[in-house]
Amino acid sequence: MTALVIRGGHLIDPAAGVDALKDILLKDGRVAEIAAPGKLKAVNGAEVLDATGLTVAPGLVDIHVHLREPGQTHKETIATGTAAAAAGGFTAVAAMPNTTPPNDSPEITRWMQAAERGAVVRVFPIAAATRGLKGETLNDYAALKSAGAVAVTDDGHPILKDNVMREVLSAAARVGMSVIQHAEDTRLTQGASMNLGSMSFMLGLRGMPHEAESNLVERDIRLVTELRDSRVHLHVAHTSTAAALAAVRQARRSGLRVTCEVAPHHFLLTEEHVGFYDTNAKMNPPLRSAADRDAMIEAILDGVVDAIATDHAPHAVHEKEVEFDNAPNGITGLETALGLSLRWLHKEWKLPLGRVLSLLSAQPAALLGMKGRGTLAVGSFADVVVFDPNAEWTYRAREGKSKAHNSPFDGWTMQGKIRWTISEGRISFTSSLPE
């Protein structure tokens, strides 16, 4: 494998505590050497990328994406989804198991990682917690783990039965896997398509109460407490309500290993953005009240949130061009997460760049135990994103790499233009040169 030198860039590696001008040598898929500008030793024959004026950071890690393969390739494939990831600066993505058929076996887990899928960044499958995502019978977690699965979840089919969830938490803990819960008490959300509030009332849409999320988070935390096993790791997916965040905050104070992620749309948008039935503002959990959105921002700024994850959920155009209550849930996110985070978290809300990058790389990688990712310490995987932190650009959903265009951020101003994304030493995305 050829060697790559990234020269003249400003390296920000929060996990390693680096924030300085550095040259980097990547070799055989790993970070081989880091040195002050012009001081690298073994650069003979290496291809050189000039990163003068650019930021060099660990490749981003998204622990919540839907790549739709196997089975729903009209929405996205592993090849197109990872191309979108690379275009967004991501070098590792964790793929949810609600595929067709669901990923509940070592065979599918391995199939998703096979070279024939054409992934341009690393795919970490998250396996189904129960057979067929039905919330009844546990899968073989040891076998799934050795096939490469990094966590288990029933994602969009939350595990409601206490005894099943207790078994899932404890079985996953025994093999050192995390349990991710999409917290939604579906008994409270039948037929609902947006947040419950005066907005849903006026639009004549059935609403999801915020308790549907927080009740289940509280139930799960109670189960974790009762298990009294420090190996148990509960991760709350796409947290969207102030009440659920408060529960996570409290659990953490009690010393429990309970973590959470927040999606960009939940810290930027509210139910108001549904407007007159914009199906690109329909997702689950739904866009919430302004108070909930403000709580997401606060929790990111004060450090309660462990990771930003996109919940990238591609759908074909025709699937979203329907009546609001008939439209599928979800929006794309891989190509907008960095641009939105830099534009809002960093520029507007003054979260230091290193912390923004940590929420998008080091922290999510650590959550799911992705060793050698989320940092550029020597010996780590050569997963790198190089971007111009100050460049502003306009996102056009139709020009993206994803097969899908279902984004509420179409036409929004983004900050931070990606120049290169490098996955395990290979350039997986190159932008056209700035004019």
Binding site: A246, T270, G275, A291, D292, D294, E298, D325, W349
Partner: protein, 342 residues
């Protein structure tokens, strides 16, 4: 809604909410909010003028223009009155209903709309069981779309005909409406508010003319947050107290088809909310009684009240034809907004 929300410590700039692009077509009537008070006055005036016009002369207004009625839900009053209204103006109408069309085969609303447009439809009147369907159809076809009821959301022509009925009784002779026209008037809307598009259109429309809207019903059918729906709206759970305050009483049907598993004790409901002759005489002897239909005699109101002297239910139906002539004319009159060839 979120009691545990931490109050924002900092004043942060936030992403804006884009202004609504609707209506794309100025001739559409998706919501009662699409009409300014001037436009509303114009529609009311045209309804009267068209009603009084010579029928033969009237057929020249939209002679041979093409209007499609697209109905995904059953309807007696709305469909018939729209059809009669369009035909009274000379238009050719065609009815497409979800049964007996390609909708049964899975054709989407978008494709159905584009097909009707290709067939020469110049406007589409849509009744649909999904809230927001009229917005989708308008965006995809850019034709004038008249919302004849979308799910639990709005039914603007019903609110307009209700307004015409109310004005005829309480403000006779009023031609143009203003923000004070209904000042001092309280309208009670009673029953299944949660599932009612008629209630939503009326509670958005009547307060703009100065009326006070009192919503009345049990919590299951009238959530507390309805009071925050707009200005001039309040909740009064006690039916008799609501009656005592009201000059207009609008009774609603319990929408069994939209209850979605909700359990309702009908005997209890009737005991608390049925409009009986006794209640009407005791608490609102001078009020007019409206009902958008279909009425279920013996449930939300008794037969005696439906047929009694305070009932204006059939007048509402009659007003429906006049109002719909006015909005159909507006839909096909270029440069509407204020609309009409007065």
């Amino acid at each position: 809604m979120s009691p545990t929300a931490t109050p924002a410590r900092r004043q942060l700039p936030l992403p804006p909410v884009a202004a609504s692009p609707f209506p794309y077509n100025a001739c559409s009537l998706l919501s009662v909010q699409d009409l300014t008070l001037d436009a509303l006055s114009h529609v009311l005036a045209r309804a009267t003028a068209l009603e009084n016009q010579d029928p033969l002369e009237r057929t020249r207004i939209l002679a041979k223009r093409r209007i499609a009625l697209l109905f995904y839900e059953s309807s007696t009053r709305t469909r018939t009155s729209f059809e009669l209204a369009a035909k009274s103006l000379g238009a050719d109408t065609t009815l497409v209903s979800s049964l007996s069309s390609s909708i049964e085969k899975g054709e989407s609303l978008k494709d159905t709309g584009l097909t009707l447009r290709a067939l020469g439809a110049e406007a589409i009147i849509l009744r649909h069981n999904s809230s927001g369907a009229a917005w989708l159809l308008e965006r995809e076809t850019r034709l004038p779309v008249l919302n004849a009821g979308d799910g639990m959301h709005e039914h603007p022509t019903q609110a307009l005909l209700d307004l015409r009925t109310i004005l005829a009784h309480l403000r006779p002779g009023v031609e143009a409406v203003s923000a004070e026209t209904l000042a001092g008037i309280t309208v009670a809307i009673v029953g299944d508010i949660l599932h009612s598009r008629v209630a939503r259109s009326n509670m958005l429309l009547l307060p703009r003319l100065g009326a006070r809207v009192l919503l009345c019903g049990p919590t299951a059918l009238l959530p507390e947050l309805a009071a925050a729906a707009g200005p001039g709206i309040a909740i009064e759970r006690n039916f008799e107290s609501a009656l005592r305050q009201s000059q207009v009483v609008m009774m609603l049907r319990i929408q069994a088809e939209r209850l979605a598993g909700m359990q309702l004790d009908l005997e209890e409901y009737k005991a608390a909310y049925q409009l009986t002759g006794q209640r009407l005489a005791a608490f609102a002897p001078n009020a007019i009684v409206l009902h958008p239909g279909p009425i279920i005699r013996g449930l939300e109101l008794t037969a005696g009240v439906a047929d009694g002297p305070q009932s204006v239910i059939l007048e509402q139906v009659r007003n429906g034809v006049a109002i719909r002539m006015a909005v159909v004319e507006r839909a096909l009159t270029a440069g509407a907004g204020k609309g009409g060839r007065a």
